[in-house]
């Protein structure tokens, strides 16, 4: 994890396509796709709306190896319809998770890049996300960790934001965003004073990887580099034991979320949260590199 990454050899995860991410994050040559494009049909729901579909419906599923361990893989394509979940897209994810319950790979790697429900298939998408939510929890209950990687251009929003937080852990880059409603939606409904979606620095201070890392909503913060995501995933999974669902675990999470809610009550900007966490100069956070931020978090008062 701490090996320095040569910036000139960096392969941006944010800008990569889902297929390139799959190739770069998993062991070279290990990926086998289920329902490859040549065996698939684009969504008929898009066709009736006169919109060209994609053969894979914006998500790739298959098997691979990660650090020599067998894994099942899901990778959403943010460049197609914002990575949004429609009927086929959602069913591919559900199918992969159900396969994981039976096959018991070392892990499921879920590369999220999605705005949530595909509005053109709104009901099918919402129901599919509910099915994905239950399937993620079933997979984890079967002892298989589900690891979310969040660092794509569409982030993890809407139902896929919920799904990401149902996973065993999240590996995230600073460029990744993780939230429920997108800033544009909040701005449209509640006004630009509530959330200026064009203020990119603000959007990242509210939904970005550094904020999520400092408040414990993602397990690992990595550089925007496919190799860093790969190493982050390997590190999180090393020695990971999926805990059985229990009231004690969820009570601990309930206490954490409740006390956090009280501690940061009324705050509207990451800068306020970071000051409350004891960061000496919160304005430095957005310009800090990943390693410095990780070191800073380790030094914060408990």
């Amino acid at each position: 994890m701490n090996a320095p990454i040569n910036p000139s050899r960096r392969h941006s995860y944010f800008e990569a396509t889902a297929r390139n991410r799959v190739a770069a994050v998993l062991d070279a040559g290990s990926f086998t796709e289920f329902l490859p494009p040549e065996a698939s049909q684009p969504s008929p729901h898009l066709a009736v709306l006169d919109i060209p579909g994609a053969f894979d419906d914006g998500v790739i599923v298959g098997s691979a190896a990660l650090g020599g361990q067998p894994v099942l893989v899901i990778a959403q394509e943010g460049q197609f319809m914002g990575g949004a979940v429609g009927e086929i897209h959602g069913a591919k994810i559900v199918g992969l998770l159900r396969r994981a319950m039976a096959e018991k790979p070392a892990a499921v790697i879920l590369m999220v890049d999605s705005g949530g429900v595909r509005l053109h298939e709104a009901n099918a998408g919402l129901i599919a996300i509910s099915e994905i939510m239950r399937a993620v929890l079933d997979t984890r209950a079967a002892g298989v960790p589900v690891l979310a990687l969040v660092g794509g251009s569409c982030g993890a929003f809407g139902g896929m934001g919920i799904v990401s937080r149902l996973c065993s852990a999240i590996v995230m880059s600073e460029e990744g965003r993780l939230a429920l409603s997108g800033p544009e939606v909040i701005e449209t409904v509640a006004g630009v004073e509530e959330f200026d979606s064009k203020d990119r620095a603000l959007v990242w201070r509210v939904t970005g990887g550094k904020q999520r890392y400092l408040t414990g909503d993602c397990a690992e913060l990595v550089e925007d580099d496919a190799a860093a995501f790969r190493q982050g995933a390997i590190d999180v999974l090393a020695g990971w034991t999926e805990p059985a669902p229990s009231s004690a675990t969820l009570r601990a999470e309930q206490d954490r979320l409740t006390s956090r809610r009280q501690r940061f009550a009324g705050m509207r900007d990451g800068l306020e949260v970071w000051a409350a966490l004891g960061v000496p100069d919160p304005r430095q956070i957005p310009i800090m590199d990943r390693d410095s931020l990780v070191a800073l978090r380790k030094g914060l008062p408990a």
Binding site: F34, I162, L250
Partner: protein, 236 residues
Amino acid sequence: MTLHDILDALFPAGHAVEVSDQLVAGTAQTATGTVAVLGTTGPAAIGHDIALGLAGRILDIVDRHPGRPIVFLVDTKGQALSRAEELLCLNGSLAHLARCVDLARRQGHVSLALVTGEAVSGGFLSFGLMADKTYALADAQVRVMDLKAMARVTKIAHERLVELAGSSPTFAPGAENYQRMGAIEAIWPAPSASLLEAALANQAAAGPATDGRMASGRARDGRRLAADVVAAVLAA
């Protein structure tokens, strides 16, 4: 119909349910014993406080009343829309609530959700759609987005969406569409103790609930693709 009217109709043998800041919580009597009642009214926008309030009460039920059935009453206009809510990862609190509903199922609590008013997006996902089975009253409004807003966002003519909505349950609002697609088990003409008790008894008899919504959606000819796609992924 007010929440009180609905509770009276569902639980003629008595209920002790309180509403505080749109969060509904309490107990009620049925022919087979005491059930927990949890949910929202308003319709409520689900933020951290409601999500954590519901989640905490579910954990209390799991810890103190093993096996007690849970009836969720759903009336939500979706997630709370604010920067402060998102700053603290609102999706995380909704995920936590969903995990609590899921835990109750794993610990042997039968659960059922009844949409009494609105059921929208994230608010619906976090608990209504997590129950073993979801039902809706006839005048319930279930949606992701209304068609006018959908037309604006997708840049597809409103008239075209209205026309297509007549032949496809895939995108247009309406409890019937969700029923055809398998997510809503049945639509009740009115809140009814006998329908509720029958639904709870069916589930108790069926044993631990698995997610049968995709199969229902296919059997009802509302979701024709998903089940085959899942089967193909399993067989690949």
